[in-house]
């Protein structure tokens, strides 16, 4: 019996060993190594480095450029998550109805999500170009505007435009997840409320939304994390310009580490990014999540 228990225990260790090994190699070691290197003057090209102490952190916290990037990151994340998630939810509610060609519409709404980011950005740059872009052309011809809007070239428009492209790219994921959630809801409550005379909006507000809220909140957390880390869309559209209007923390990490070759300083910026995300995740699990469990 004891031998059998011993074998069972060791078998368990053997089974989980590959996963643990991958976690350590691909996640834990780089995380710890990166954290360590953020306290050094590590250069991208040379293996040797000197200890820097807290100098990187002090310099970035005293840098107005850094705080501009922090502000831009939170603005961008807030725009994308708030608009994108509620748009996704709206689309999911729509696709959950018995509408004509529902299958076709579901496919169409998935197109932005399956389009590669590079392709989406390349098309967006062309469409949004001030001189020959189709969007300005249509808006001018519809007399909505009388001169082209500098979607990606004007500081006042750039952030909204980048957020708009990100929302277009990302809302389908939320729609798909929420649609799956909606389809798993019991219909009896809806039917009973309908019989009792509740309107569509009341049914959504008091029955549907509370039931999907836990998953919606979790999805919001996921999209917050992915949007906070967004690099490719912003880089491909504006590279952080014009005039740093769309410069965010992920771009700052890239700029510092790969354009000025200061890996140590870049990692320090990345550590602060992790800190902000950790705070949000902590707040979610500590404060929000316990309140979100739906009880019938």
């Amino acid at each position: 019996m004891k031998i059998k228990e011993l074998i069972d225990r060791k078998l368990g260790i053997i089974f989980i060993f590959p996963v643990v090994f991958i976690m350590v190699v691909l996640f834990i070691y780089p995380l710890l190594n990166g954290f360590f290197l953020s306290f050094t003057y590590k250069n991208l090209f040379t293996p040797k480095f000197k200890f820097a102490g807290l100098s990187h952190y002090i310099s970035i916290f005293y840098s107005a450029y850094y705080w501009l990037c922090v502000r831009n990151t939170f603005v961008y994340t807030f725009l994308c998550v708030s608009i994108g998630n509620f748009l996704g939810l709206g689309i999911a509610l729509l696709l959950n109805q018995e509408i004509k060609l529902r299958g076709l519409w579901r496919g169409i709404f998935l197109i932005p999500w399956v389009t590669p980011g590079v392709v989406a950005c390349a098309i967006s740059r062309w469409a949004l170009n001030d001189l020959y872009g189709v969007i300005n052309y249509v808006l001018i011809n519809l007399r909505i505007i009388d001169k082209p809007i500098l979607w990606l070239a004007a500081s006042e428009w750039a952030m909204s435009t980048v957020a708009m492209v990100s929302i277009w790219k990302g809302f389908a994921f939320v729609a798909v997840v929420m649609l799956a959630c909606l389809q798993g809801l019991p219909r009896e409550l809806q039917d009973a409320a309908s019989i009792d005379g509740a309107s569509t909006w009341q049914r959504f507000l008091y029955i549907t939304f509370p039931m999907i809220l836990p998953l919606f909140a979790l999805i919001t957390l996921f999209t917050f994390i992915t949007t906070f880390n967004m690099f490719d869309i912003i880089w491909l559209l504006t590279k952080g310009g014009p005039n740093n209007a769309t410069m965010t923390l992920p771009l700052l990490v890239y700029e510092v580490a790969f354009q000025t070759y200061k890996v140590g300083k870049g990692l320090a910026v990345a550590v602060t990014m992790g800190l902000y995300m950790s705070i949000v995740v902590f707040l979610y699990f500590k404060l929000l999540q316990p309140r979100l469990e739906y009880k019938l």
């Binding site: 991208l44 090209f45 040379t46 293996p47 082209p148 070239a153 004007a154 014009p242 354009q259 070759y261």
Partner: protein, 431 residues
């Protein structure tokens, strides 16, 4: 018995695969990274490698073509992984670090073999650090001015007018611009990362430099640099407002779609693109190569270098010396005369394009001939020296541009601020 035969056959197959797949026994394999932005370069590159192998039977060249835009990133990755090639084309700031950290092999002897007098002092100066040459100038990017002659006529100028001075050019830009009709006199890309491509030619055209050509110390805060930036600022209102976000493609496309009268770009690309599109006005495009109103200038020199980690540095140097003088690339005329008239421009893709262009635009060839005596420009305006690699150069250039064009900071103040950072980096260079 049958099993033994099958086993023997299998073994022979494995050995055969191994022999084919692995480097030949006793052969030295040199890894060579070459810039390759155009597929038509594969053949001449391979031909050079094959010729060297034929002359050196014990050597095999494994070359990899990499687009210039990717080269620096891949170089950083490969150096961090301690898996450097033996010989490589270098780009931008990366190689300055490598030079400073002595991660490259001195190449003075290779330059002597190739003929020092065949290279301009500007190109060799950029290759040198602490009196030693660490790279062989490979190719150079030239910025040329291209404009439409038919628009000159409409604006009341002579069809054959060539603006030979900055003032003449500015006058034409102002007269041609008609924002209501969506026509602009000029366009230059100001998107992030594009600053240096525009800044260098205009600085060169005003005789400016970022470094003192004799001492190598920072000299950005000069009247010439201020004049260059002020000139660009004068042009700015006559350019499409959206150029703040333009990259290279948008800049050239603004010209090709008929929105801008003139653009500075690497000449053959715009001409070729226009011709390939069958645009009616392709013949009206005119290119000013140096000396012109000096809008044309070498932007930077891309060197070849040998890594100090190479197991066969002497063979690598032999290959480099051969490759840079390889006969398949020999041309009597080089369209990008960073060097003197020379045959030593092996992988200059402009040369391949020139051959195509000669068939289409004889006047381009004539211009190239006229250019050559003026090839000895005093120096790359940025004049990268190893210590400049410590600068947050891309970030600073972005800030300089934003200060001058977007935040309306007086040019003198912006230049002084930029120079101050340069000075500080120079003083901190040994740290």
């Amino acid at each position: 018995m049958l099993r033994k035969k099958i086993g023997l056959l299998f073994l022979i197959t494995l050995v055969g695969i191994g022999l084919v797949a692995s480097p030949a026994l006793g052969k030295v394999t040199l890894r060579f990274w070459e810039q390759q932005d155009f597929p038509e370069l594969s053949e001449p590159i391979q031909a050079s490698c094959d010729e060297f192998e034929a002359l050196n039977p014990g050597v095999k060249i494994e070359w990899t073509g990499i687009e210039m835009g990717d080269l620096e990133t891949r170089m950083a990755t490969i150096v961090a992984a301690h898996n450097e090639p033996d010989v490589s084309m270098m780009g931008g700031g990366a190689w300055m670090f490598l030079m400073k950290e002595k991660m490259l092999v001195p190449l003075d002897d290779v330059i002597e073999r190739l003929g020092k007098t065949n290279y301009s002092s500007a190109s060799l100066k950029q290759m040198a650090y602490e009196g030693t040459i660490w790279g062989v100038p490979g190719n150079v990017w030239m910025a040329n001015l291209i404009y439409r002659r038919d628009w000159l006529q409409e604006a009341g100028f002579d069809y054959n007018m060539i603006p030979r001075s900055a003032e003449a050019f500015l006058e034409a830009v102002k007269k041609i611009t008609n924002a209501e009709a969506d026509r602009y006199g000029f366009v230059f890309s100001m998107g992030p990362g594009m600053e240096e491509l525009n800044l260098y030619p205009w600085e060169a055209s005003h005789g400016a430099s970022w470094l003192d050509p004799y001492t190598g110390e920072p000299s950005f805060n000069t009247s010439a640099n201020i004049a260059a930036l002020k000139f660009m600022k004068e042009l700015y209102p006559y350019c499409p407002p959206g150029q703040v976000g333009y990259g290279w493609d948008e800049e050239v496309n603004a010209f090709l779609t008929g929105k801008a009268w003139a653009v500075t770009t690497c000449c053959p690309e715009a001409l070729d693109a226009a011709y390939d599109r069958g645009l009616e006005w392709a013949d009206d495009i005119y290119s000013i190569a140096p000396p012109g109103p000096v809008f044309s200038a070498p932007i930077w020199f891309n060197p070849y270098a040998v890594f100090a980690t190479s197991e066969y540095p002497d063979i690598a140097k032999d290959f480099l010396a051969y490759y840079c003088s390889a006969k398949p690339f020999a041309r009597k005329i080089s369209f990008t005369p960073a060097t003197y008239p020379t045959a030593y421009m092996p992988t200059n893709e402009q040369e391949i394009l020139v051959e195509n262009l000669l068939k289409k635009y004889p006047q381009v060839y004539e211009q190239a001939l006229a250019v050559l005596p003026y090839a000895t420009v005093p120096g790359n305006p940025a004049g990268p020296a190893p210590w400049t690699a410590v600068l947050d150069a891309p970030v600073l250039r972005k800030e300089l541009y934003a200060d001058v064009f977007l935040r309306n900071v007086p040019v003198e103040e912006a230049v002084a601020k930029f120079n101050q950072v340069y000075v500080e980096a120079y003083e901190a260079r040994e740290k």
